[in-house]
Protein backbone atom coordinates (compact mmCIF):
# COMPACT_ATOMS: atom_id res chain seq x y z
CA UNK A 1 0.00 0.00 0.00
CA UNK A 2 1.16 3.51 -0.75
CA UNK A 3 0.19 6.60 1.17
CA UNK A 4 -0.05 10.24 0.29
CA UNK A 5 3.29 11.68 -0.81
CA UNK A 6 4.86 8.33 -1.76
CA UNK A 7 6.72 8.11 -5.09
CA UNK A 8 4.81 5.84 -7.47
CA UNK A 9 4.51 4.93 -11.14
CA UNK A 10 1.23 5.12 -13.00
CA UNK A 11 -0.04 3.84 -16.34
CA UNK A 12 -2.88 4.92 -18.60
CA UNK A 13 -4.30 4.34 -22.04
CA UNK A 14 -4.15 7.56 -24.04
CA UNK A 15 -5.92 6.20 -27.13
CA UNK A 16 -7.66 2.87 -27.51
CA UNK A 17 -6.60 0.81 -30.52
CA UNK A 18 -9.73 1.81 -32.45
CA UNK A 19 -9.08 5.51 -31.78
CA UNK A 20 -5.57 5.50 -33.31
CA UNK A 21 -4.66 7.34 -36.50
CA UNK A 22 -4.87 5.36 -39.70
CA UNK A 23 -1.33 6.03 -40.88
CA UNK A 24 0.46 3.39 -38.84
CA UNK A 25 1.45 -0.23 -39.53
CA UNK A 26 -1.24 -2.84 -39.00
CA UNK A 27 0.41 -4.41 -35.95
CA UNK A 28 0.62 -1.05 -34.17
CA UNK A 29 -2.97 -0.25 -35.12
CA UNK A 30 -4.08 -3.26 -33.04
CA UNK A 31 -2.47 -1.91 -29.86
CA UNK A 32 -3.64 0.73 -27.42
CA UNK A 33 -1.50 3.86 -27.21
CA UNK A 34 -0.21 3.75 -23.63
CA UNK A 35 1.53 6.10 -21.25
CA UNK A 36 3.61 5.81 -18.08
CA UNK A 37 4.81 8.49 -15.70
CA UNK A 38 5.85 8.87 -12.07
CA UNK A 39 4.97 11.20 -9.26
CA UNK A 40 3.98 11.78 -5.63
CA UNK A 41 0.70 10.09 -4.74
CA UNK A 42 -2.05 12.64 -4.05
CA UNK A 43 -4.64 10.20 -2.69
CA UNK A 44 -4.68 9.41 1.07
CA UNK A 45 -3.72 5.80 0.32
CA UNK A 46 -3.85 3.41 -2.62
CA UNK A 47 -3.01 -0.11 -3.72
CA UNK A 48 -1.62 -1.47 -6.99
CA UNK A 49 -4.41 -1.39 -9.58
CA UNK A 50 -6.23 1.62 -8.08
CA UNK A 51 -7.03 4.72 -10.11
CA UNK A 52 -4.95 7.48 -8.55
CA UNK A 53 -3.66 11.00 -9.01
CA UNK A 54 0.01 11.98 -8.80
CA UNK A 55 2.01 15.18 -8.84
CA UNK A 56 4.97 14.71 -11.18
CA UNK A 57 8.54 16.02 -10.95
CA UNK A 58 7.44 18.91 -13.16
CA UNK A 59 4.47 19.61 -10.84
CA UNK A 60 1.85 18.33 -13.24
CA UNK A 61 -1.24 16.61 -11.88
CA UNK A 62 -1.79 13.35 -13.75
CA UNK A 63 -4.28 10.50 -13.29
CA UNK A 64 -3.68 6.83 -13.99
CA UNK A 65 -3.60 3.30 -12.63
CA UNK A 66 -1.08 2.70 -9.87
CA UNK A 67 1.30 0.03 -11.20
CA UNK A 68 4.49 0.34 -9.13
CA UNK A 69 5.24 1.53 -5.61
CA UNK A 70 8.75 2.88 -5.00
CA UNK A 71 9.72 2.29 -8.67
CA UNK A 72 13.37 1.73 -9.52
CA UNK A 73 15.53 0.95 -12.53
CA UNK A 74 16.70 -2.53 -13.39
CA UNK A 75 18.60 -1.98 -16.66
CA UNK A 76 22.19 -3.10 -16.45
CA UNK A 77 25.35 -3.92 -18.37
CA UNK A 78 23.57 -6.99 -19.69
CA UNK A 79 24.37 -10.68 -19.74
CA UNK A 80 27.73 -12.00 -20.87
CA UNK A 81 28.15 -11.85 -24.64
CA UNK A 82 31.07 -14.15 -25.56
CA UNK A 83 31.55 -12.49 -28.97
CA UNK A 84 32.85 -9.36 -27.24
CA UNK A 85 35.78 -11.30 -25.80
CA UNK A 86 36.45 -12.72 -29.26
CA UNK A 87 36.73 -9.19 -30.66
CA UNK A 88 39.20 -8.24 -27.93
CA UNK A 89 41.33 -11.31 -28.64
CA UNK A 90 41.32 -10.69 -32.36
CA UNK A 91 42.30 -7.03 -32.03
CA UNK A 92 45.24 -7.92 -29.78
CA UNK A 93 46.35 -10.57 -32.24
CA UNK A 94 46.26 -8.20 -35.22
CA UNK A 95 47.83 -5.24 -33.47
CA UNK A 96 50.37 -6.88 -31.20
CA UNK A 97 50.60 -10.47 -32.38
CA UNK A 98 48.95 -11.73 -29.22
CA UNK A 99 50.37 -10.20 -26.06
CA UNK A 100 51.24 -6.52 -25.84
Amino acid sequence: MSKKGDWVRIHSIVLKAEERTGRIPEDTQKCDFQQWTKGFLQDESANIGDEVTVKTAANRIVKGTLIEETPYYTHSYGKFVPEIIEIDKQLRQIMFGGDK
Binding site: I24, F33, Q35, W36, A57, A58, R60, H75, L91, I94
Partner: protein, 468 residues
Protein backbone atom coordinates in the same frame (compact mmCIF):
# COMPACT_ATOMS: atom_id res chain seq x y z
CA UNK B 1 -13.38 28.01 -21.21
CA UNK B 2 -12.12 24.46 -20.90
CA UNK B 3 -10.47 23.28 -24.13
CA UNK B 4 -11.43 19.89 -25.51
CA UNK B 5 -8.44 17.59 -25.16
CA UNK B 6 -9.44 14.80 -27.52
CA UNK B 7 -7.11 13.87 -30.39
CA UNK B 8 -8.80 15.82 -33.18
CA UNK B 9 -9.29 18.98 -31.11
CA UNK B 10 -5.66 19.12 -29.94
CA UNK B 11 -4.24 18.32 -33.39
CA UNK B 12 -6.52 20.99 -34.84
CA UNK B 13 -4.83 23.55 -32.60
CA UNK B 14 -1.31 22.31 -33.45
CA UNK B 15 -0.12 25.46 -35.24
CA UNK B 16 -1.39 27.74 -32.54
CA UNK B 17 0.14 25.64 -29.76
CA UNK B 18 3.51 25.45 -31.52
CA UNK B 19 3.63 29.16 -32.20
CA UNK B 20 3.06 29.91 -28.52
CA UNK B 21 5.57 27.30 -27.44
CA UNK B 22 8.40 28.62 -29.61
CA UNK B 23 7.85 32.35 -29.50
CA UNK B 24 8.56 32.30 -33.23
CA UNK B 25 6.22 32.77 -36.16
CA UNK B 26 7.48 30.72 -39.09
CA UNK B 27 5.06 32.44 -41.45
CA UNK B 28 7.46 35.34 -41.88
CA UNK B 29 10.01 33.07 -43.58
CA UNK B 30 7.56 31.62 -46.09
CA UNK B 31 7.36 32.71 -49.73
CA UNK B 32 3.96 31.13 -50.26
CA UNK B 33 5.50 28.74 -52.75
CA UNK B 34 8.14 25.99 -52.32
CA UNK B 35 10.91 28.28 -51.15
CA UNK B 36 11.34 29.62 -47.64
CA UNK B 37 14.11 31.84 -46.33
CA UNK B 38 16.32 29.37 -44.47
CA UNK B 39 19.08 31.85 -43.68
CA UNK B 40 16.53 34.31 -42.27
CA UNK B 41 15.20 31.53 -40.04
CA UNK B 42 18.75 30.84 -38.80
CA UNK B 43 19.36 34.54 -38.24
CA UNK B 44 16.13 34.87 -36.26
CA UNK B 45 17.92 33.51 -33.21
CA UNK B 46 19.81 36.79 -33.07
CA UNK B 47 22.77 34.99 -31.51
CA UNK B 48 26.15 35.14 -33.19
CA UNK B 49 28.49 32.18 -32.97
CA UNK B 50 30.49 34.01 -30.29
CA UNK B 51 27.36 34.59 -28.22
CA UNK B 52 26.39 30.95 -28.54
CA UNK B 53 29.86 29.93 -27.40
CA UNK B 54 29.51 32.24 -24.39
CA UNK B 55 26.14 30.74 -23.42
CA UNK B 56 27.66 27.28 -23.72
CA UNK B 57 30.79 28.12 -21.75
CA UNK B 58 28.57 29.20 -18.85
CA UNK B 59 26.90 25.80 -18.73
CA UNK B 60 29.84 23.39 -19.09
CA UNK B 61 29.27 22.81 -22.79
CA UNK B 62 31.77 22.90 -25.63
CA UNK B 63 35.55 23.08 -25.94
CA UNK B 64 35.77 19.31 -25.95
CA UNK B 65 39.07 17.60 -26.78
CA UNK B 66 40.02 16.50 -30.28
CA UNK B 67 41.73 13.15 -29.85
CA UNK B 68 43.90 11.40 -32.42
CA UNK B 69 42.99 7.73 -32.65
CA UNK B 70 46.49 6.51 -33.45
CA UNK B 71 45.95 2.80 -33.00
CA UNK B 72 42.73 2.72 -34.96
CA UNK B 73 44.42 4.71 -37.73
CA UNK B 74 47.26 2.18 -37.76
CA UNK B 75 44.78 -0.68 -37.84
CA UNK B 76 42.85 0.91 -40.68
CA UNK B 77 46.08 1.28 -42.72
CA UNK B 78 46.57 -2.48 -42.59
CA UNK B 79 43.59 -2.74 -44.95
CA UNK B 80 44.48 0.19 -47.24
CA UNK B 81 46.79 0.25 -50.24
CA UNK B 82 50.33 1.53 -49.55
CA UNK B 83 50.47 5.23 -48.68
CA UNK B 84 46.76 5.31 -47.80
CA UNK B 85 44.85 5.43 -44.53
CA UNK B 86 44.11 8.89 -43.14
CA UNK B 87 44.80 10.02 -39.59
CA UNK B 88 41.52 9.61 -37.70
CA UNK B 89 40.56 12.11 -34.99
CA UNK B 90 37.53 12.07 -32.69
CA UNK B 91 35.86 15.11 -31.22
CA UNK B 92 35.16 13.82 -27.72
CA UNK B 93 31.68 15.21 -27.28
CA UNK B 94 31.03 12.80 -24.43
CA UNK B 95 32.99 15.36 -22.40
CA UNK B 96 30.06 17.78 -22.55
CA UNK B 97 27.88 17.98 -19.47
CA UNK B 98 25.11 15.35 -19.99
CA UNK B 99 27.46 13.29 -22.15
CA UNK B 100 26.80 14.16 -25.77
CA UNK B 101 26.84 16.92 -28.37
CA UNK B 102 23.13 17.36 -27.70
CA UNK B 103 24.15 19.57 -24.76
CA UNK B 104 25.13 22.19 -27.34
CA UNK B 105 21.61 22.23 -28.73
CA UNK B 106 19.97 22.18 -25.33
CA UNK B 107 22.13 24.95 -23.85
CA UNK B 108 20.89 27.42 -26.45
CA UNK B 109 17.27 26.29 -26.47
CA UNK B 110 17.00 26.44 -22.67
CA UNK B 111 18.82 29.79 -22.41
CA UNK B 112 16.45 31.19 -25.00
CA UNK B 113 13.39 29.82 -23.17
CA UNK B 114 14.64 31.45 -20.01
CA UNK B 115 15.24 34.75 -21.75
CA UNK B 116 11.69 34.72 -23.11
CA UNK B 117 10.32 34.06 -19.62
CA UNK B 118 9.04 30.50 -19.97
CA UNK B 119 8.75 28.55 -16.70
CA UNK B 120 9.74 25.24 -18.23
CA UNK B 121 10.85 23.37 -21.32
CA UNK B 122 9.51 20.29 -23.01
CA UNK B 123 11.19 18.03 -25.53
CA UNK B 124 10.08 15.00 -27.52
CA UNK B 125 13.02 12.59 -27.66
CA UNK B 126 14.03 9.10 -26.60
CA UNK B 127 17.68 9.93 -27.00
CA UNK B 128 20.57 11.93 -25.62
CA UNK B 129 18.69 15.14 -26.21
CA UNK B 130 16.34 14.45 -23.31
CA UNK B 131 19.25 14.18 -20.91
CA UNK B 132 20.77 17.31 -22.41
CA UNK B 133 17.61 19.40 -21.99
CA UNK B 134 17.04 18.05 -18.48
CA UNK B 135 20.60 18.87 -17.49
CA UNK B 136 20.42 22.38 -18.90
CA UNK B 137 17.01 22.98 -17.32
CA UNK B 138 18.44 21.93 -13.96
CA UNK B 139 21.36 24.30 -14.41
CA UNK B 140 19.28 27.21 -15.63
CA UNK B 141 16.42 26.74 -13.16
CA UNK B 142 13.52 25.71 -15.39
CA UNK B 143 11.04 22.83 -15.14
CA UNK B 144 11.54 20.07 -17.67
CA UNK B 145 9.35 17.41 -19.26
CA UNK B 146 10.75 14.81 -21.64
CA UNK B 147 8.32 12.82 -23.78
CA UNK B 148 9.77 9.48 -24.91
CA UNK B 149 8.70 6.83 -27.36
CA UNK B 150 9.90 4.08 -25.08
CA UNK B 151 8.02 0.79 -25.08
CA UNK B 152 6.32 -1.74 -27.28
CA UNK B 153 2.73 -2.64 -26.42
CA UNK B 154 3.94 -5.21 -23.87
CA UNK B 155 5.83 -2.55 -21.97
CA UNK B 156 9.26 -3.79 -23.10
CA UNK B 157 11.82 -1.07 -23.81
CA UNK B 158 15.33 -1.00 -25.20
CA UNK B 159 17.92 -0.72 -22.43
CA UNK B 160 19.38 2.33 -24.17
CA UNK B 161 16.10 4.28 -23.94
CA UNK B 162 15.47 3.21 -20.34
CA UNK B 163 18.91 4.57 -19.46
CA UNK B 164 18.01 7.92 -21.02
CA UNK B 165 14.86 8.03 -18.90
CA UNK B 166 16.95 7.39 -15.78
CA UNK B 167 19.35 10.16 -16.69
CA UNK B 168 16.54 12.65 -17.30
CA UNK B 169 15.03 11.83 -13.91
CA UNK B 170 18.43 12.15 -12.27
CA UNK B 171 18.44 15.78 -13.46
CA UNK B 172 14.99 16.32 -11.95
CA UNK B 173 12.88 16.11 -15.09
CA UNK B 174 9.54 14.38 -15.52
CA UNK B 175 9.71 11.62 -18.13
CA UNK B 176 6.48 10.72 -19.91
CA UNK B 177 6.93 7.33 -21.55
CA UNK B 178 4.75 6.18 -24.43
CA UNK B 179 4.30 3.16 -26.64
CA UNK B 180 5.33 3.16 -30.30
CA UNK B 181 3.52 5.45 -32.68
CA UNK B 182 3.28 8.92 -34.20
CA UNK B 183 0.49 9.85 -31.77
CA UNK B 184 3.36 10.87 -29.50
CA UNK B 185 2.93 14.24 -31.17
CA UNK B 186 -0.62 14.48 -29.79
CA UNK B 187 0.54 13.80 -26.24
CA UNK B 188 3.42 16.22 -26.70
CA UNK B 189 1.16 19.03 -27.94
CA UNK B 190 -1.40 18.36 -25.27
CA UNK B 191 1.17 18.64 -22.46
CA UNK B 192 2.70 21.70 -24.11
CA UNK B 193 -0.71 23.35 -24.18
CA UNK B 194 -1.49 22.49 -20.57
CA UNK B 195 1.84 23.65 -19.18
CA UNK B 196 2.66 26.56 -21.49
CA UNK B 197 6.28 25.38 -21.53
CA UNK B 198 8.78 26.19 -24.28
CA UNK B 199 9.14 23.67 -27.08
CA UNK B 200 12.86 22.91 -26.88
CA UNK B 201 12.59 21.28 -30.28
CA UNK B 202 15.61 19.48 -31.68
CA UNK B 203 14.89 21.24 -34.94
CA UNK B 204 14.55 24.89 -33.89
CA UNK B 205 17.12 27.42 -35.11
CA UNK B 206 18.31 27.84 -31.50
CA UNK B 207 19.17 24.17 -31.31
CA UNK B 208 21.03 24.09 -34.59
CA UNK B 209 22.88 27.33 -33.86
CA UNK B 210 24.14 25.50 -30.79
CA UNK B 211 25.85 22.86 -32.94
CA UNK B 212 27.69 25.41 -35.07
CA UNK B 213 30.28 25.80 -32.32
CA UNK B 214 31.13 22.11 -32.77
CA UNK B 215 32.14 22.57 -36.41
CA UNK B 216 33.94 25.79 -35.57
CA UNK B 217 35.95 24.14 -32.80
CA UNK B 218 36.93 21.26 -35.10
CA UNK B 219 38.32 23.76 -37.61
CA UNK B 220 40.24 25.73 -34.99
CA UNK B 221 41.63 22.64 -33.26
CA UNK B 222 42.82 21.14 -36.56
CA UNK B 223 44.57 24.40 -37.46
CA UNK B 224 46.19 24.70 -34.06
CA UNK B 225 47.17 21.04 -33.74
CA UNK B 226 47.95 20.16 -37.34
CA UNK B 227 48.34 23.45 -39.14
CA UNK B 228 45.61 22.64 -41.63
CA UNK B 229 41.92 22.12 -42.17
CA UNK B 230 40.33 18.67 -41.94
CA UNK B 231 40.04 16.91 -45.30
CA UNK B 232 36.92 15.05 -44.28
CA UNK B 233 34.43 15.29 -41.42
CA UNK B 234 32.07 12.37 -40.83
CA UNK B 235 28.83 12.96 -38.92
CA UNK B 236 26.48 10.37 -37.48
CA UNK B 237 23.17 11.28 -39.05
CA UNK B 238 19.58 10.94 -37.89
CA UNK B 239 17.41 14.07 -37.88
CA UNK B 240 20.21 16.06 -39.51
CA UNK B 241 21.02 18.54 -36.74
CA UNK B 242 24.51 17.20 -36.14
CA UNK B 243 25.59 17.47 -39.75
CA UNK B 244 23.83 20.79 -40.38
CA UNK B 245 25.29 22.55 -37.37
CA UNK B 246 28.76 21.03 -37.78
CA UNK B 247 28.95 21.92 -41.47
CA UNK B 248 27.72 25.47 -40.82
CA UNK B 249 30.35 25.91 -38.12
CA UNK B 250 33.08 24.61 -40.43
CA UNK B 251 31.94 27.03 -43.13
CA UNK B 252 31.88 29.91 -40.66
CA UNK B 253 35.50 29.06 -39.88
CA UNK B 254 36.29 29.11 -43.59
CA UNK B 255 36.73 25.38 -44.17
CA UNK B 256 35.35 25.39 -47.68
CA UNK B 257 37.30 22.38 -48.95
CA UNK B 258 36.36 19.94 -46.22
CA UNK B 259 34.29 17.02 -47.48
CA UNK B 260 31.20 16.49 -45.32
CA UNK B 261 29.97 12.91 -45.01
CA UNK B 262 26.72 11.76 -43.39
CA UNK B 263 26.83 8.27 -41.88
CA UNK B 264 23.88 6.21 -40.68
CA UNK B 265 23.35 2.63 -39.61
CA UNK B 266 21.44 0.78 -42.30
CA UNK B 267 18.11 -0.40 -40.91
CA UNK B 268 16.44 -0.95 -44.26
CA UNK B 269 13.43 -3.21 -43.90
CA UNK B 270 12.49 -2.26 -40.35
CA UNK B 271 9.43 -0.04 -39.97
CA UNK B 272 9.97 2.61 -37.33
CA UNK B 273 6.31 2.78 -36.26
CA UNK B 274 5.84 -0.99 -36.05
CA UNK B 275 5.06 -2.29 -32.58
CA UNK B 276 6.50 -5.74 -33.26
CA UNK B 277 9.69 -4.43 -34.92
CA UNK B 278 10.38 -1.72 -32.34
CA UNK B 279 12.65 -3.96 -30.28
CA UNK B 280 14.19 -5.78 -33.23
CA UNK B 281 16.66 -2.98 -33.79
CA UNK B 282 19.72 -2.68 -31.60
CA UNK B 283 20.40 1.02 -31.94
CA UNK B 284 17.99 3.84 -31.24
CA UNK B 285 19.44 6.68 -33.30
CA UNK B 286 21.92 7.41 -36.06
CA UNK B 287 20.08 4.99 -38.32
CA UNK B 288 18.48 5.23 -41.75
CA UNK B 289 15.01 4.89 -40.22
CA UNK B 290 15.38 8.52 -39.16
CA UNK B 291 18.22 9.60 -41.42
CA UNK B 292 16.66 9.00 -44.82
CA UNK B 293 13.12 10.32 -44.19
CA UNK B 294 14.49 13.45 -42.50
CA UNK B 295 17.07 14.06 -45.23
CA UNK B 296 14.52 13.78 -48.02
CA UNK B 297 11.72 15.60 -46.16
CA UNK B 298 13.13 17.68 -43.31
CA UNK B 299 9.85 19.40 -42.47
CA UNK B 300 7.95 16.62 -40.76
CA UNK B 301 9.23 17.25 -37.24
CA UNK B 302 7.74 19.14 -34.30
CA UNK B 303 8.29 22.58 -35.87
CA UNK B 304 6.82 23.98 -39.11
CA UNK B 305 10.25 24.26 -40.75
CA UNK B 306 13.24 22.29 -39.56
CA UNK B 307 16.53 24.11 -39.13
CA UNK B 308 18.28 20.73 -39.64
CA UNK B 309 18.71 20.07 -43.35
CA UNK B 310 21.12 17.24 -44.16
CA UNK B 311 21.21 17.55 -47.93
CA UNK B 312 22.13 21.23 -47.83
CA UNK B 313 25.48 20.20 -46.38
CA UNK B 314 26.27 16.55 -47.09
CA UNK B 315 28.63 15.80 -49.97
CA UNK B 316 28.17 12.07 -49.45
CA UNK B 317 25.86 9.78 -47.50
CA UNK B 318 27.25 6.42 -46.40
CA UNK B 319 25.81 3.59 -44.38
CA UNK B 320 27.31 1.02 -42.03
CA UNK B 321 25.71 -1.89 -40.19
CA UNK B 322 24.83 -2.44 -36.55
CA UNK B 323 27.49 -5.15 -36.25
CA UNK B 324 30.22 -2.86 -37.60
CA UNK B 325 29.30 -0.15 -35.08
CA UNK B 326 29.36 -2.66 -32.21
CA UNK B 327 32.76 -3.95 -33.33
CA UNK B 328 34.34 -0.50 -33.68
CA UNK B 329 32.95 0.52 -30.28
CA UNK B 330 34.80 -2.38 -28.70
CA UNK B 331 37.91 -1.52 -30.72
CA UNK B 332 37.79 2.07 -29.49
CA UNK B 333 37.77 0.82 -25.90
CA UNK B 334 40.40 -1.87 -26.43
CA UNK B 335 42.88 -0.10 -28.67
CA UNK B 336 42.46 3.53 -27.63
CA UNK B 337 41.34 3.18 -24.02
CA UNK B 338 38.27 5.27 -24.75
CA UNK B 339 35.00 3.66 -23.73
CA UNK B 340 32.03 5.40 -25.36
CA UNK B 341 28.44 4.66 -26.38
CA UNK B 342 27.74 2.80 -29.61
CA UNK B 343 25.32 5.26 -31.30
CA UNK B 344 27.92 8.01 -31.44
CA UNK B 345 30.39 5.58 -33.00
CA UNK B 346 28.37 5.17 -36.18
CA UNK B 347 30.58 7.81 -37.77
CA UNK B 348 33.67 6.01 -36.44
CA UNK B 349 32.75 2.73 -38.17
CA UNK B 350 32.31 4.68 -41.41
CA UNK B 351 35.52 6.65 -40.82
CA UNK B 352 37.57 3.49 -40.28
CA UNK B 353 36.75 2.45 -43.83
CA UNK B 354 36.58 5.94 -45.42
CA UNK B 355 40.11 6.63 -44.11
CA UNK B 356 41.37 3.91 -46.45
CA UNK B 357 40.32 6.01 -49.46
CA UNK B 358 42.49 8.93 -48.31
CA UNK B 359 46.28 9.36 -48.25
CA UNK B 360 48.18 8.80 -44.99
CA UNK B 361 48.64 12.47 -44.26
CA UNK B 362 44.96 13.34 -44.73
CA UNK B 363 42.96 14.44 -41.69
CA UNK B 364 39.66 12.71 -41.05
CA UNK B 365 37.57 13.89 -38.10
CA UNK B 366 34.52 12.20 -36.63
CA UNK B 367 32.38 14.92 -35.13
CA UNK B 368 31.51 13.19 -31.85
CA UNK B 369 31.51 10.51 -29.23
CA UNK B 370 28.74 9.99 -26.66
CA UNK B 371 28.72 8.74 -23.06
CA UNK B 372 28.24 5.09 -22.19
CA UNK B 373 26.58 3.52 -19.17
CA UNK B 374 24.24 0.77 -18.04
CA UNK B 375 21.91 -0.08 -20.90
CA UNK B 376 23.78 2.13 -23.31
CA UNK B 377 26.69 -0.09 -24.09
CA UNK B 378 27.33 -2.89 -26.57
CA UNK B 379 26.95 -5.68 -24.02
CA UNK B 380 23.40 -4.89 -22.84
CA UNK B 381 22.42 -3.93 -26.38
CA UNK B 382 23.72 -7.21 -27.83
CA UNK B 383 22.28 -9.23 -24.93
CA UNK B 384 18.90 -7.57 -25.49
CA UNK B 385 19.09 -8.36 -29.20
CA UNK B 386 19.86 -12.02 -28.46
CA UNK B 387 16.93 -12.18 -26.00
CA UNK B 388 14.73 -10.83 -28.80
CA UNK B 389 15.70 -13.62 -31.14
CA UNK B 390 18.32 -11.73 -33.14
CA UNK B 391 21.22 -13.91 -34.36
CA UNK B 392 24.63 -12.56 -33.46
CA UNK B 393 27.28 -13.94 -35.79
CA UNK B 394 30.74 -13.17 -37.15
CA UNK B 395 30.79 -12.73 -40.93
CA UNK B 396 30.75 -10.28 -43.80
CA UNK B 397 28.28 -7.50 -42.97
CA UNK B 398 28.11 -6.35 -46.60
CA UNK B 399 26.80 -9.75 -47.65
CA UNK B 400 24.98 -11.11 -44.62
CA UNK B 401 23.49 -8.19 -42.68
CA UNK B 402 19.69 -8.40 -42.23
CA UNK B 403 18.34 -5.74 -39.85
CA UNK B 404 15.83 -7.25 -37.45
CA UNK B 405 17.09 -10.77 -38.13
CA UNK B 406 20.80 -10.71 -37.32
CA UNK B 407 23.74 -8.64 -36.21
CA UNK B 408 26.83 -9.48 -38.26
CA UNK B 409 30.05 -8.63 -36.45
CA UNK B 410 32.80 -8.22 -39.06
CA UNK B 411 34.97 -11.37 -39.03
CA UNK B 412 38.00 -9.12 -39.04
CA UNK B 413 38.45 -5.33 -39.25
CA UNK B 414 38.95 -5.61 -43.01
CA UNK B 415 35.25 -6.40 -43.25
CA UNK B 416 34.27 -2.98 -41.89
CA UNK B 417 33.18 -1.36 -45.15
CA UNK B 418 30.92 1.65 -45.55
CA UNK B 419 28.36 1.46 -48.34
CA UNK B 420 27.85 4.51 -50.52
CA UNK B 421 24.20 5.51 -50.56
CA UNK B 422 22.90 7.13 -53.74
CA UNK B 423 22.79 10.73 -52.54
CA UNK B 424 21.52 11.96 -55.90
CA UNK B 425 18.47 9.78 -55.48
CA UNK B 426 17.85 11.38 -52.04
CA UNK B 427 18.28 14.79 -53.63
CA UNK B 428 15.75 13.97 -56.33
CA UNK B 429 13.39 12.67 -53.71
CA UNK B 430 13.65 15.91 -51.73
CA UNK B 431 13.00 18.00 -54.83
CA UNK B 432 9.95 15.99 -55.88
CA UNK B 433 8.50 15.92 -52.38
CA UNK B 434 8.98 19.64 -51.85
CA UNK B 435 7.08 20.40 -55.06
CA UNK B 436 4.33 17.96 -54.21
CA UNK B 437 3.96 19.28 -50.66
CA UNK B 438 3.63 22.85 -51.89
CA UNK B 439 1.29 21.73 -54.68
CA UNK B 440 3.48 23.48 -57.22
CA UNK B 441 3.97 22.14 -60.76
CA UNK B 442 5.81 25.06 -62.35
CA UNK B 443 8.32 26.35 -59.80
CA UNK B 444 9.53 29.93 -59.97
CA UNK B 445 13.16 30.97 -60.43
CA UNK B 446 13.34 31.50 -56.68
CA UNK B 447 11.98 27.99 -56.06
CA UNK B 448 14.55 26.44 -58.39
CA UNK B 449 17.37 28.30 -56.69
CA UNK B 450 16.02 27.26 -53.29
CA UNK B 451 15.84 23.60 -54.30
CA UNK B 452 19.39 23.76 -55.64
CA UNK B 453 20.54 25.10 -52.25
CA UNK B 454 18.45 22.52 -50.43
CA UNK B 455 20.28 19.74 -52.26
CA UNK B 456 23.77 21.26 -52.67
CA UNK B 457 23.31 20.96 -56.43
CA UNK B 458 22.51 23.47 -59.17
CA UNK B 459 19.45 24.72 -61.00
CA UNK B 460 20.22 22.42 -63.90
CA UNK B 461 20.04 19.35 -61.62
CA UNK B 462 16.75 20.55 -60.17
CA UNK B 463 15.25 21.19 -63.61
CA UNK B 464 16.37 17.81 -64.88
CA UNK B 465 14.85 16.12 -61.82
CA UNK B 466 11.53 17.82 -62.49
CA UNK B 467 11.67 17.16 -66.22
CA UNK B 468 11.70 20.89 -66.99
Amino acid sequence: MVLAKDYDSVMGRANEIMKKALGLDYQEFESGSIAFDYEALMKSTNYTLEEVAKIQAKTAVGNTPLIELRNLSTLSRKYAKPGYGARIFAKDEAANVSGSFKARRAACAVAHAKKLGYKGVIAATSGNYGAAVASQAAMQGLECIVVQECYDSKGVGQPEIIEKARKCEAYGAEVVQLTVGPELFYSFLSIMEDTGYFNASLYSPFGIAGVETLGYEIAMQCRELLGKDPDMVVCTNAGGGMITGTARGLLKAGCTNTEIVAASIDLTGLHMASDSQFNKKSCTTGHTGFGVPYATDPDHSDVPRSAARTLRYADRYVTVTQGEVMYITEALANLEGIERGPAGNTSLAAAFSLAQELPEDAILVISETEYTGAGKHIQPQLAFARDNGIDIIFGDPAKEDKPGVNIVLPKDPGYIKHQEADINRFRQSLINRACKKAGVTNPSEADLKFLAEETKTNVEFVKKTLGL
